[in-house]
Structures are given as structure tokens and as C-alpha cells.
Amino acid sequence: MNLHEYQARDILRRHGIPVPPGEVATTTDEARAIAARLGPGPVVVKAQVHAGGRGKAGGVKLAANPAEAAAHAAKILGMTIKGFTVHRVLVAPAADIASESYVGIIVDRTSQRPVLMVSAAGGIDIEEVAARTPEKIHRLAVDPRYGLLAHQALGLALKVHRDIAQARATADIMQRLYAAFYAVGASLAEINPLVTTRDGAVAALDAKIVIDDNELDRRPEIAALRDTSAEAPSEVAAREAGLTFIKLDGAVGCCVNGAGLAMATMDLVKYYGGAPANFLDIGGSSNPQKVVSALQIITADASVRAILFNIFGGITRCDDVATGIVQATRAFPLQVPLVIRLTGTNEELAVQILTQAGFPALTDMDEAVKQAVAQAKAA
């Protein structure tokens, strides 16, 4: 789950990291009032969306006074950046920046440890720097049993600061960021840029935190930060129904049990010349209600021209899925053709249930995908 910049800044502030003031506005009047409260200097108005490159897209503007802040907010609120509509802006004082750096933490899959990354190149796209000039990023894999030790943090900080006071301040921020990382259950936390101002202070100007979805059940206060307006409505509905759903652009709706088989099914749709409309994993359970929800979510997408079921019954019983399909299509008659492939546990029973209800059932995956692609093209 992605957090917005203002939410990430709040978390950092609560962990004792210096973060300049700033407040969130959802209207132009609020933006004007915040700018007035922040004092006489210029302010920055920043779009709060889950997308990088906000500045380039026109979502970050400098304002000399409250009236200008309101004018910028009027333009930014409601604008679309990389498919996300802006509903909130952060209004913060324009920082007097002397230098910028980058501090981030991820969990590295290869070392299986949290890795701290530091670069003197601030305000950058860390993935781009990592790909092009990896030598500009200093990395340290942290032993999670002991956490980020003081000398390790200072050693890293000295790679980006010559001034010892600034290096110490940066090291302290790194240790606090590491503590915050574990405290909120993050999979990524970055301060980008970490700035030094002309008076020598070090502060986190912009922050990004991504939370591991597996942490949300035990951290209701973090789960409450979810902004469902930033997600496709179909994906919100799917999550509430206990399904994993990702909307794509094609015409073949896919309903599959298991994530790997769901991806392989999408790939096979493409292999046979079609395009998948979605990723959907109905999971291991055979609850017919899940099948009903899945069909509702898939058919809500107007670009779907055919629906493909691909079920490999292991734990999932094919007859349960068949029953779900029959129930769902009785409750919501389908407007698009349905191609069903089931094999494995209770396959014969499933074929019988479907045949009686008038649905042909296939047992071969390639044959089913070919038919679904052909039907989507014919529709």
C-alpha cells in the first residue's frame, strides 16, 4: 500500500525526524489559509498522488503569496497525473536549500536484509541512478538483529557530508528512519531529498513510504491511511470481496485460481493473439460467493468481450466453482460469452453440473484460451 507524501511526512515527524511544516488542503480556500498561516515567505503547492514525476507533470508549483498558492491549488486540484486524479495538495514553506541528498531503505531480496541506500545525488529517481551510475549509491545491508548501529549510520552519512555536524544529524535521521521502517511495516521508506538549508540544518523535504500489505491486519492505524480514491473502483471492490484483481486493457476477462496460473493464463491469451482484460485470482477456497463477486467485477468492465475461467482443482474443488458459475449467471445473466476450463479435483462432477446448466466445459487450457480469444474477437 502506498502512502501519500503528507502521510509519510507525518510518520517521519512522529519518529523525531526534522520535517519542515506543511499542511494538506482539499480546497483552494484551505490552500490560501495554510499559506497565510505559514508566514510571509513563498510556499510550495504539491499534488498528493501515488505517482512519481509530479513536478514534470505540473503538479508542484512555487507560490509567492497566499493568493498565488490558492491559484496554483485551483489548477492542481482535479488534475490527472499518470492516471491519478489529484484530490489533495500539500502546502509547505519553500525551503532554502543548500544541498540535497537521498536516504532510502528497502528489503533486499538477495541479501534478505533491509538495505540502507544513501546518495549525494538528491531529488533523483533512485532506480534510474541505480541502473545508470550504481557507484553513486552507497549501500549497507543491516543485520536486523541489531538494527542500524550508530557507527554504521555515521560512516554512511560521511559519504555525503563533509561537515561533521551535518553528518551526525544525517546519521541520526537514518537511525530514526530505520526505526520507523520497522515500526510501520514498510517495504520502502525514502527521504528524497534530504536537504541541508543555508543555516546548516538537515531536514526531510519529501518522503515516500510503501507499506507491506501483509502488515495491514496487525496495524489498523496504518491500514486506515489507505486512500481508496487513488485506486480503480474495481480493485477496491475486489479487495473487499477477498479477491486479487488487477485491471488491464484487453478484452478477455480472466478468472483463475492461483496467482501463477493466473499470470500464465494471461500470457497464453496473448500467445494466441488476444489481450487479457485483467488479472484475477479467486484463491484457494471454492466459496461460490467468490465466483459471483469475481463475475460481477469482471463484467463491470465494458471492454470485456469474453470471459475465460481457468481452474486447476487441487484444493479448489471444480464442482464448487461450477456451482458458483451456475449461481452467479442465474443471478446476473451474462452479456458476453463464457469459456470454462476445469481440470483436477471433482472435474467430472463439475462438467456434469455445467452441462446440465447449458455451459460447455473444457479440460484443456490451450483449447479454452484459443476459444476465448476467438469469441472476444467475434463479439
Binding site: 528489503v107 538477495t110 541502473a131 501483509n214 488487477i246 499470470m263 496473448k270 486447476f312 487441487g314 479435483t345
Partner: protein, 289 residues
């Protein structure tokens, strides 16, 4: 021979009285696995299905039954703790089926296992099966046949699909291992490939990967340097968009890294025969056996 499990496997089931644990315990016993104990705190002293003794702790179970393998079916909230407990009780092989363990919990679990010399398979995996010998986990026994092909995969049902193709076309399996769909796992492709390379009853290996991370790329290097047996590879997620988790916590393209194309190219460079679709597995294997 087979890899990781065989007839000597003495299994303790953590979460044996739960919905999933009880169902799969019956399936495993039916398949012939020696399930010697179960653990459910508070239910110590009971018998599961009148045959399997239940203990309050894994340590008790190991002491009383000499269990040498643990399988975990407990809910995600307590699954990391169940792994710690099994390792602490001295169990050398721990298979965690549970999906949904926080990655940060795994950063603490893995060094703990390493210090105790325990192997973890998973989490978020279907477990493993050596057809006609032993099964630990949830892979349906009826789709497998004994034979000489090793299978290692990050997925569940996709593995069943490919194993089904093998079995119905006359190619049995020595062992099938599901290593799990999470970003941090205990046993990776290289561990399994190296076990299959050493196994005298395995002639070839099918490796089923997916988008996300670099485990497949590292495995490809290993195949090139250290394997003499033929390897066939598949990568799921060629049509997956970047930046989205495709069901499995570990199946995500970050930036431009971890794509199916990149992994398939690494396979091809290492001399691994690349399947374009699941149905390619048997023809590609037959060419190389």
C-alpha cells in the same frame, strides 16, 4: 533417493486441528506420509483422528516422537512465530504453507534459521512431494506420478498444471518443490537445482519462475556453471504491468527490473530450454532426455 523428503520423513503438523491443517493432514496420511505428531497449544494430550498425538509445543512433539520435519498451516499472524518455534525445537526441515507473513518478520526469521542450520521451504508455498514416497504440504497427490523429472516452482496451481502435463504424457517426477511466492523465502531455485543435480534419481529439471526479483537470473548462472542435467524453464507474467503485485507478494516488476523478458533471456543465455507456454514442457523435455 529424492530431495529433501523421503520415507524417513517424520512429520509434525503445526496447526493440526485447524481447518486447513486437519484437511491436509488427512490427505498426507492418505498419501503415506508418516505424520508422527501435531501441535496445537492447549490441545496437548488429545489424539487427532484417533491416531496422531497432539502436543502443546513443537519441543514436546520432537522429544516424544523424533519428528524431523515440520509443516506449518497456522494463520499468518502467528506463522513467523511457528517457524521460530520449530527451529528452536531443533527441526532441521520446516515447510511453511501459510501465505501473508510480513516481509520484515522474515528478515528476523531467516538469520535465526541460519544460525540453527535449519532449512525452511516457503513461506507461501504448496510444499513438496516425492511421488509414491512422501508428501509434505498441499500438492494434490493424484496428479503426480513417480519418475525422474525434478520440478521446482514459485507457484502452486501453475505447478499442478505443468505436473499434470508431465504425468498424463508419461513423465513422472522424482520430487516437486514449491519454493513459494514471497520476496523472502528460505529455499531458492539454486538450493533446489543443486539438490536435483546431486540426486541420482533425477534426470532433468523443470524450473517454473515468475516476474519479480533476480532469483531466476542467479539460477541461470548456476545452471550454466554447475549443472550437467538438462533444465527446462518457464516464466509467468509476460503480460504483467510494472509496479503491480500479481497476487504473489514477490511477483512485482520494480522499475524495469524483474521482467519476464529479462528472465527468459537469462535462461536462454544459460542454455536452459525456455517454454513459451505450459504445454511446451513435455516436447522440450523429450528433446533433451
Amino acid at each position: 533417493m529424492s530431495v529433501f523428503i523421503d520415507q524417513q520423513t517424520r512429520l509434525v503438523v503445526q496447526g493440526i486441528t485447524g481447518r486447513d491443517g486437519s484437511f491436509h493432514t488427512r490427505q498426507m496420511i492418505g498419501y503415506g506420509t508418516k505424520v508422527v505428531a501435531g501441535v496445537t497449544p492447549g490441545k496437548g494430550g488429545q489424539l487427532f483422528d484417533s491416531v496422531v498425538p497432539v502436543f502443546d509445543t513443537v519441543a514436546d512433539a520432537v522429544r516424544e516422537t523424533q519428528a524431523n520435519t515440520a509443516v506449518i498451516y497456522v494463520p499468518a499472524a502467528v506463522a513467523a512465530s511457528a517457524i521460530f518455534e520449530a527451529a528452536d525445537a531443533g527441526v532441521p526441515l520446516i515447510v511453511c504453507i501459510t501465505e501473508g507473513i510480513a516481509v520484515l518478520d522474515m528478515t528476523r526469521v531467516l538469520p535465526y534459521l541460519h544460525e540453527r542450520g535449519a532449512r525452511l521451504i516457503g513461506p507461501n508455498c504448496p510444499g513438496l512431494i516425492s511421488p509414491a514416497r512422501s508428501k509434505v504440504g498441499i500438492i494434490p497427490g493424484n496428479i503426480c506420478r513417480p519418475g525422474r523429472v525434478g520440478v521446482v516452482s514459485r507457484s502452486g496451481t501453475l505447478t499442478y498444471e505443468i505436473v499434470h502435463q508431465l504425468s498424463t504424457q508419461g513423465l513422472g517426477q522424482s520430487t516437486c518443490v514449491g519454493i513459494g511466492g514471497d520476496p523472502l523465502i528460505g529455499t531458492n531455485f539454486i538450493h533446489c537445482l543443486s539438490a536435483f543435480q546431486a540426486d541420482t534419481e533425477t534426470d532433468a529439471v523443470v524450473m517454473i519462475g515468475e516476474i519479480g526479483g533476480t532469483d531466476e537470473q542467479q539460477a541461470a548462472d548456476f545452471v550454466q556453471q554447475a549443472m550437467t542435467k538438462p533444465v527446462i524453464g518457464f516464466i509467468a507474467g509476460q503480460t504483467a504491468p510494472p509496479g503491480r503485485r500479481m497476487g504473489h507478494a514477490g511477483a512485482i516488476i520494480s522499475g524495469s527490473s524483474g521482467t519476464a523478458a529479462e528472465k527468459m533471456a537469462a535462461f536462454a543465455r544459460a542454455g536452459i530450454a525456455v517454454m513459451k507456454r505450459p504445454a511446451d514442457v513435455v516436447p522440450l523435455l523429450k528433446e533433451r532426455l
